[in-house]
């Protein structure tokens, strides 16, 4: 005879096991990076320029470069992505053009990041003559994270209950007033989630910045947005594969700083999101 409780327990066990397996790699990455990287962290490592062919000194220029690049990418992608998401969720009708736009966004999300790099090189570095610069890199990263921001923002906007829109319109608010005063404030937490995801991706990608901005070795801070810059992911690649005899703790220390930086930037967005959720009086 079949025992439904036994099969149920077996099913629960495998479901739980699969869930647990997700935690393991995350935990291990964090433990290994902290264990091997933390000893490298000191004030000099964070504030000094690289010395002795990047085998000593600090990684300050790479930290600054990554902060610039991520900030630039968000400044570019957030407004454009948000406005596009509002159009797609609130205004667009189901016609050929809009289906084409939605298809384009999905495909943009599927393009490999190295192709973005090549695209950025052709368009921003060469055609617009921005050169290898923070501007070119930010623009390339911005385009790369656009689909993430558009998709999550659209989901956030569409999850605002239709009844809120109806009431607002029925009280004589225009469509734009409804969006501005009712839909957007209720969608901000979701939009910020999209921003967090985009931010993490922009900070971590190496390929898109490879041809557009990243300097192999630049022991000073960039002077303007038309200047090249070092960036943490590329620096990590360089000291891990291109420069012989770099101490392990410097490599893991760099990875640790990259992780921490993304975490700190996410934390800021999470705090803003929390504030908005609290203000929303559910």
């Amino acid at each position: 005879m079949k025992n439904p409780y036994r099969t149920q327990n077996i099913a629960f066990f495998f479901l739980f096991l699969a869930t647990l397996l997700i935690v393991v790699p995350v935990g291990l990455i964090i433990v290994i990076i902290i264990q091997k990287g933390l000893p490298a962290i000191n004030w000099q490592f964070l504030s000094d320029i690289p010395r002795q062919g990047m085998r000593a000194g600090g990684i300050f220029p790479a930290i600054v470069g990554t902060v610039y690049l991520v900030t630039g990418a968000i400044i570019l992608a957030l407004p454009i992505g948000l406005l596009a998401a509002i159009y797609l969720s609130e205004y667009s009708k189901d016609n050929l053009l809009n289906r084409l736009i939605k298809l384009a966004i999905v495909n943009l999300a599927g393009v490999p990041s190295v192709v973005y790099g090549l695209f950025g090189l052709a368009l921003f570095v060469v055609f617009f003559k921005f050169g290898a610069s923070i501007l070119s890199g930010s623009l390339t990263l911005g385009i790369m994270i656009l689909p993430v921001i558009i998709t999550t923002s659209r989901e956030a906007l569409e999850s605002v209950p239709q009844s809120f829109r109806e009431v607002s319109l029925s009280l004589g608010a225009s469509k734009w007033q409804t969006i501005r005063h009712i839909v957007l404030p209720n969608a901000i937490p979701g939009i910020l989630t999209g921003t967090i995801l985009g931010l993490g991706r922009a900070a971590g990608e190496t390929a898109p910045i490879l041809f557009t901005v990243a300097a192999f070795y630049l022991p000073r801070l960039p002077n303007s947005i038309f200047d090249q810059a070092m960036a943490l992911p590329y620096h990590l690649y360089v000291i891990s594969t291109q420069v012989p005899n770099v101490a392990e703790k410097i490599r893991y220390g760099t990875a640790f700083v990259l992780l921490a930086l993304v975490l700190i930037m996410n934390l800021v967005a999470i705090i803003i999101r929390y504030k908005f959720r609290k203000r929303k009086k559910w």
């Binding site: 009708k93 009844s163 809120f164 109806e166 009431v167 607002s168 319109l169 029925s170 009280l171 004589g172 608010a173 225009s174 007033q177 005063h181 009712i182 209720n186 929303k280 009086k281 559910w282």
Partner: protein, 251 residues
């Protein structure tokens, strides 16, 4: 005095005809009830009066709907002006996820530039007094509106609407989520409000229509079968279908 007149009103959702040749005269400062079984078009008719059906893309109408002698189906109609004048209370109480205060001033903030805090305070007090909530809520104005009871929420929605100073109140089954006591109190409120507003209520509940309304229309399959004084509709209906419905033979 006639406030709203519909003349040969027809409405289609795509190829489905939801309203068929509706002719009616809705009097000012009266409560008019629209009754009928589910899907008969009563909510659709209600949503013609503030053009909320416009949110549906495949909608088509013909005929005339005159409100104060202006045909609101005209394509030049300013929907913002129309909806300020013809407000709506929905089936499910739907306050915004804001404070009680912010809910009531929402319309005013949108419509009036540079309104002062004192003026807003005054509107909040007056609107809440009108719906008999002021004494209960005057010390809780900054609390989330979603924390209120269902009845309080629905009253708040009426207050939010009154704050915009409409002439006509459209009520789409406003008591269907409320218990009998709360329903009775909201009906009492409707009677108090009718001296200042023209009220049209769509309801499933025939007893409610009989209790609160002055005039009643009975709809079936998109047609307005019978329209007249409530006591006549309920005591001496002229049409066999009306009689069958109110005696509970279907519905």
């Amino acid at each position: 005095m006639a406030k709203i007149i519909t003349k040969n009103l027809n409405l289609w959702y795509g190829t489905f005809q939801a309203l068929k040749n509706v002719n009616s005269t809705i009097e000012a400062n009266r409560i008019t009830a629209i009754i009928g079984p589910s899907g008969c078009g009563k909510s659709t008719l209600l949503r013609v009066f503030n053009r909320m059906n416009d949110l549906i893309e495949v909608l088509r109408t013909d005929g005339e709907v005159l409100i104060d002698d202006t045909n609101i189906l005209d394509s030049h109609t300013d929907l913002v002006v129309l909806r300020k004048k013809v407000g709506m209370v929905f089936q499910r109480p739907n306050p915004f996820p804001l404070s009680i205060y912010e809910n009531i001033v929402f319309g005013e903030k949108i419509h009036a530039d540079g309104i002062t805090r004192d003026e807003l305070d005054e509107i909040v007090e007056k609107s809440l007094r009108d719906v008999l909530l002021w004494d209960e809520l005057k010390d809780r104005l900054n609390e989330p509106a979603l924390r209120l009871s269902l009845e309080q929420k629905q009253r708040l929605c009426i207050a939010r609407l009154i704050a915009v100073k409409p002439d006509v109140l459209l009520m789409d089954e406003p008591c269907s989520t409320l218990d009998p006591q709360a329903t009775a109190r909201v009906e009492e409120l409707m009677r108090e409000l009718k001296s200042r507003y023209t009220i049209i209520i769509v309801t499933h509940n025939m007893q409610q229509a009989a209790r609160v309304s002055d005039n009643t229309g009975f709809m079936l399959l998109g047609e307005l079968i019978e329209f007249g004084k409530t006591h006549e509709i309920f005591t001496a209906p002229r049409d066999k279908r009306t009689e069958d419905y109110i005696t509970g033979r279907y519905g």
